[in-house]
Symmetry: C2
Subunit: 250 residues, 2 copies
């Protein structure tokens, strides 16, 4: 864990990237210069709306959000959850219209990143550019996993994997042997994330309880049989590391 000089805004992206490589002082400065202003969101608040104009990206500094898409035919799909250190809104890199909405799940703080700053970063610090590329590729793999889960697994497995996944993320920050999740999501939200209806999410929760896999108290979920849940789904948490040996020198 590294300290930052007082006065410099805390930058969760720097801390994330520092997990993968040893950052030079210049690189740290460049990452700090990437972000412009901070914004505070309360749970449920909309940061970016699908179809709306976008000026740039965001770094999640604290809390979590999700990105979602609304269908013209009705319905919504939650695409993924974004945690501290994630660079989000990256659809704005390719287009000037948001491809998805960004919504705060918990209270959170995000920093804005104008697109032009990103261009400067690639020019001045190729290694960081390459590292961002590696992270984007890792995220593609994560999306592929989600696609597979939704395309090929049943409701019980889908919900199980979501719980194990959130648990894994939680452990990164919380450390230690966490086994309880505070889920600030409605069952409708979970359904939209899993490709299920809220009614079926409820029944699936009940089934997991009946099998003594989990215990629930309101929106607090306790994982009782992590080994069984892992075995039933083949869940693997792979997203701690990215290969860095191919990166150019700083």
């Amino acid at each position: 864990m590294l300290l930052h000089p007082p006065g410099t805004p805390r930058n969760a992206l720097t801390m994330r990237l520092a997990r993968y490589v040893d950052l030079t002082g210049h690189e740290r400065d460049a990452l700090a210069a990437l972000i412009e202003s901070e914004r505070r969101l309360s749970a449920g608040q909309l940061l970016q709306e699908q179809g709306g104009p976008v000026d740039g990206l965001f770094v999640v500094q604290q809390g979590w959000l999700h990105s979602s898409k609304r269908l013209t035919t009705g319905g919504r799909q939650i695409l993924r959850f974004h945690y501290s250190g994630d660079l989000i809104g990256t659809s704005s890199i390719a287009w000037s219209v948001a491809a998805a909405s960004l919504t705060a799940v918990s209270d959170c703080i995000v920093a804005t990143v104008p697109k032009a700053n990103l261009g400067r970063l690639f020019a001045a610090h190729p290694r960081l550019g390459a590292l961002l590329y590696a992270v984007a590729c890792a995220e593609k793999v994560a999306m592929a996993d989600r696609l597979t889960t939704i395309g090929r697994m049943n409701a019980l497995q889908r919900l199980t994997i979501l719980l194990l996944d959130v648990l894994a993320r939680l452990r990164v920050t919380a450390g230690g042997v966490v086994d309880t999740i505070e889920l600030p999501l409605t069952q409708t939200d979970l359904g939209d994330a899993l490709g299920l209806t809220k009614v079926h999410v409820n029944r699936t929760f009940r089934a997991l309880e009946a099998k003594s896999m989990i215990r629930r108290d309101g929106r607090r979920v306790t994982i009782l049989d992590e080994a069984g849940m892992t075995a039933a789904t083949g869940f693997v948490d792979r997203y701690r590391e990215v290969a860095t040996e191919w990166l150019p020198n700083p």
Copy 2:
């Protein structure tokens, strides 16, 4: 359309990127130096196996392939199709083990790209690095669309979208007013791509025929009512362009 000096291997990635920005001579040289050797595959052949070791990436020079994942619980999910100019096997950027299998759909030619070459490219040509990042972000958006399709649409809509999507890709290369697709995929393959069983794919094909949306002759599919199919699904083909105004100077 641009010519390349005789002797220089044709590089589909260069042609792809040249669609987005005007490439300098140096950049063209660097992209040509990226690829190492070419490999010819016949339809159905495996290029890379999930879980197997990976040394680098590939550029699709000709033909098309798909990437797929096998589940520990049985079953397979086809993640996406890869066309000429795509840089594939990018999971190897983040890990040394392949996250997915790569299989030739048609006869095709791929060029190998060692990871280290990519690192050099980022260092020497930041603008190309940034452009690759933009392409990766666009692919994330495409995956998000697929996730939404599979999570929230029924069999009829899913198959319709797949057909419209392949058609759109076909038009990029073929130009003109194509409305017939030669699909070298079995119905089992289509099911694995759509999160359906082969039996249901068959019934869905029949339903599309019954509604006079398509006509089929073997594996040749003719789109009869593109407008109707588009309206029924809200399909939008967005993947022709990426924003480039934020890229650093070459």
